[in-house]
Chain length 391, copies 4
């Protein structure tokens, strides 16, 4: 019997593409360890295990990474208000470095020199997978797979606990509307309940620590349960659907339709409590850092010195982001209703129109005069220049 | 009879505060010219004219600035995707420099050395008014008015064609939910129609030039009519409500509840067509400029060299932003359905998962390897440092 | 005898202006505590003490804040490569919050409700002083002093350990060249030694920890001594002179001539070791933070939440900035000669033109092809548009 | 005789590497057109022509692109104050897109489908060349050349009108000092003249239009002559040498020693006249754009939509940058002596310490009070939090 060429850990999905890759790797003489990450997608994991073994996998790892996905990847994104190109909440982009990190760990545990995956199209995911692997283990060899990608009909999907994406197939024409039956994580707002759910979400250090449904008094506190509960509520009310054209790292524009139910609620809630508790100028600096963070995550640089640096800085900014936001979830939309916090920088007396407090109207005059100095100088010069040109 | 101390042009609203100011200025010996800007608010302008004359105004200007408000102030904000602190569409902030510009023009026409206004609270509007006036006419004197501001019960409002704001009074407690009867520009989504309106909005150079309702075939093309029509549709479906805490230029946090119906539709539609037609890297640079633009507009620096500069740069970026966005307006939310453009940088063949096109998989390998060089070096060094620390 | 109106702590310089203020405060019925900060300026402190007492000061504090100035204010600026408007090393701006912090401490120790200072011109220093005081002690009252500023002839100076500034008087005409006799901290490069001093500066966490003169073997290690030594060497070789027009926070342009001997050497040395040890992308983010930091320091916001936040972030970035820079100081200029570091990210083998190492030329092809995808798409569209326009 | 495989235009330098490539291309069956750009390097162009023909080139183009290099590439960099990583004036990076543009023009004129060049190492120049070519002519094929790069001893050089670089060989050890005989464009400051040259440089729209030597009255006005003259003066006084470690686009750090004589003078002069004439806030925005511009140029994206956009924006900012800077060039350093401009925003009366002018001291009080509001709130909250933690 031929000697093994070594061990490959394959990020296995149970689907056709990665099954073909598994077989092909075996044929090439590799021992294959299949690794299937449970990151919250709907999947029959035991069936996948059997299939991998049947196809010749030496070993199968089914790893539940849901909790670390929420706590170590989604939470930092919530703290950052991470949004790629003003719209995309980065559901897939956040999952890749989480899946890849475990892939590398398994490779190291198994003494494997190779990893393989099925993300071989024109997309971001190949980049995200491989950059993560190389950053965490520079010596790992990525196995190039000649297996052709299966055309996806009527479209392709990628799902995890945070979101599901639909792209390719009939969606590739950016003019085509998403067909009604496409969505799977959220209810059609046209058929969603006629009464809202009103939630109170409590934050500490910029991450949610408790959610309370004021209707039935239900509460959730652990990261994973809380996130799953928000997915349920948001899904029931049709919250979190977007249809966008975005710019991929490899230089092309692509069209994607996404559902991010819990993520959408948390985006709005965190924005609100942050604005309430964070100093204006700190917020402005942090906003710039978050823009960069979102771009890096999208492009696959989660495991990079610059992204680590940004997470530290952003994390530091979240120290005072504490308090409770009250919001209503209804017919595809999230409405902020009110907020309170022991760390608020909001000073009701200072802002009140009915109380003078420490605010001296004369100060405003001075403030405006000094701010206008520069504008007056500019006007003075412009007039001079204009007069000259008219002569 | 006492000699006049000169002429003051007063930005008159017809309300109690500016009426008191008018009387007080007369008592001080000034000739008062009342100027009432019609910027789309609901108001009985003729009643206001009569009132001003009855109170002693020498002359009353009622100036319809709606069209220039849309074309010269709202359109640049649409091009910029202007958003203050991630949420506020700047409805009041955009109106102030438009109103102030006409105020200065009238002062110059009337040979008045003074202007006066009623925005004397702790807010942004005094700053916005006065910076605009000083920037446009450095020699103008602003008249300081000792008239106390009337406590607003149950809250205060400011309205124009683009938006209405509610603040102060019972809303000053940021925990208090907005009372149901507060909103005036938008229908409660709970009572809004059960079928959406589907619109097609056509853009040229980043501004809307035509809207078509695919349901009844209604179209609007002129800037003002188009904007009013979008206000109607968005208002009918409850689109554009927000409840936020924001940071004022003068250094305090305040709570505001806003309705911006048409502005909300245009924000989403423009984002979409821009992403479809603008190069990724140009977009990123432009996004940074827009952040700065939004801050400047909020703070009252519309009429400033830096804001002029930004408008020129942003305007230049909009040259290719052309095409049509299809969207649905329903139950408080705007859903993008599809888009098309003769200037699109979206290449369906290039992105297609079913066609290889010019995209060489081997290129992705090289791209990833080069991008990972830096990450590998960093890992190499970190390992060295860690090993050393462990010794 | 009249009752005291309370105690004022006066930032006293020993000069005419603050002496007048001292007398005036006494006349107004205040007890005056004079505080004179020794921040490295050349001054007869004992003479100043006697003068203050003779003028009626109840108590005189002469506080040596040089060491904390270097360690807590200059070092963070070195870490940041802080530079205002591309040229000014912030010598005065860094001193103000250091002096003001002690002023507030003394006021608190003495139970004084008031502070006073002599920086009442049109400049930045009034702003810097007072913002620092209010930030550190919101309840402190700043005493407004009607004493007119003495015209400075032929110019005014402000000195501390880091720098000296010359402005006003004959220098107010920005065309006038600085007179030859003006400079006091640095030798005229025309008369400076004809042989360089070659120094090795060792950094840890982005701050200098040791300087060695390779000529005579002299070394300095403590922060203060090291900084003084660099001042000596740089001063001897005429390093650190600039003549600039800058933008003051209050909105006007001013002209200043500055000498910053040690600061100039450290700016160049730190830039070099940082580039050698810091990841490229971390550096780029840090550079943006430093720009903001410099602006805040200039404007007087050292003691602010945003500046604290920036110092934490920048400080964090300096963790790997370690190693030794070799440089030559000669005739007004600093020349970097070489550098070494245990934390360097420079990989001689990887970069070598004579060794292939891990670098695959084919990877560069893929990298370039992917990077050019977007450019090709843009060209394709531009051609289409141009053709259309030509038709 | 074998049929030609088509025509290749080769960017030919006359050196060993590109000569080998020429021969190899002939052997492969291509017709080779040699193109040698005269971009200001010292070279025997006629000898190179003969050599190319002798090696089998079908045709030789020797193109003088010096003038367009100065006017279309260096001038925009001067306007931008372009500086990569705070130190490098981009001398090589600016030349590549200039050379490549002509390469593509020649390919189009000759109907060639292929281009080739000798920049095949690990560096930036391959990227810069090829990105430029693809951006300008997406269909061009770059010819991959298997010819090994010749080890450079003792180092390699790249020269053009703006600068010369030295790297590789013995310089690859970043600790090694540059040997004394290395520099070719500038005199050793130790041996440079003992009297300075004092120049007056006049700018219009941010570019130099005239230089006058106040010593001998010499003047230069045309772009190319002016630049050459500044090279002479700066070279004579040893101005423009740097020794840096920089980050290449392909992800490695490299060490380079550069001479940029005229560019260094212009950098300082332009900074000065810009600060004198440009509004503070416009400057700040423009500074951010310039940082991005410098990075793009370094990375090879001169011919890209984003770099075009930046050039337009930066160019627009230069409209008021007009006036004359007086400076001294001496012993390796450039000293600004004074400046004047008809477009200056410097207001001598406003800034004067001896004249009150329009500046009201009370305004400063109001300005400071409003600016401190936010700081006081922050302090108030911090105290509350601290007290709570102490309980």
């Amino acid at each position: 019997m031929a000697q093994s060429k070594g061990t490959v850990v394959l990020a296995y999905s149970g689907g056709l593409d990665t099954s073909c890759i598994l077989v092909w790797l075996k044929e090439q003489g590799y021992d294959v360890v299949a690794y299937l990450a449970n990151i919250g997608q709907k999947e029959d994991f035991e069936a996948a295990r059997k299939k991998a073994l049947a196809l010749g996998a030496k070993k199968v790892y089914i790893e539940d990474v849901s909790r670390e996905f929420v706590e170590q990847f989604i939470w930092p994104a919530v703290q950052a208000n991470a949004l790629y190109e003003d719209r995309y909440l980065l559901g897939t982009a956040l999952a890749r470095p989480c899946i890849a990190r475990r892939l590398v760990e398994i490779a190291q545990r198994e003494g494997a020199q190779h990893v393989a995956h099925g993300a071989t199209g024109k997309g971001n995911d190949q980049v995200r997978f491989e950059l993560s692997c190389y950053a965490l283990c520079p010596k790992i060899k990525k196995h190039g797979i000649p297996v052709p990608v299966t055309p996806k009909t009527p479209w392709s999907m990628d799902e995890n606990l945070m979101h599901i994406s639909y792209e390719a197939g009939i969606l590739e024409n950016p003019k085509n509307q998403a067909p009604p039956g496409l969505y799977t994580k959220t209810c059609d707002p046209a058929n969603s309940p006629d009464t809202p759910d009103v939630l109170e979400i409590q934050f500490e250090r910029g991450v949610p620590v408790k959610v309370t449904n004021t209707g039935d008094g239900a509460t959730r506190s652990s990261a994973l349960e809380l996130f799953v509960y928000l997915n349920d509520i948001a899904g029931k009310h049709g919250v979190g659907r977007i249809d966008i054209v975005e710019n991929r790292f490899v230089g092309m524009k692509s069209r994607g339709i996404y559902e991010t139910p819990a993520g959408t609620i948390l985006y709005h809630a965190h924005l609100d409590i942050e604005a309430f508790t964070m100093d204006r100028e700190v917020r402005k600096i942090k906003q710039g850092l978050s823009l960069k963070f979102s771009e890096l995550v999208y492009n696959g640089f989660w495991h990079s010195p610059e992204c680590e640096f940004l997470r530290e800085c952003i994390g530091h900014s979240q120290e005072p982001v504490e308090g409770t936001v009250r919001l209503s979830v209804f017919k595809g939309h999230v409405y902020i209703l009110g907020r309170e916090s022991p760390r608020s920088l909001y000073n009701e007396e200072l802002v009140s129109m009915n109380v003078q407090g420490d605010y001296e109207p004369a100060d405003a005059t001075g403030f405006i005069n000094i701010n206008s100095l520069r504008l007056k100088e500019y006007h003075r010069l412009q007039s001079k220049v204009t007069v000259k040109q008219d002569e």
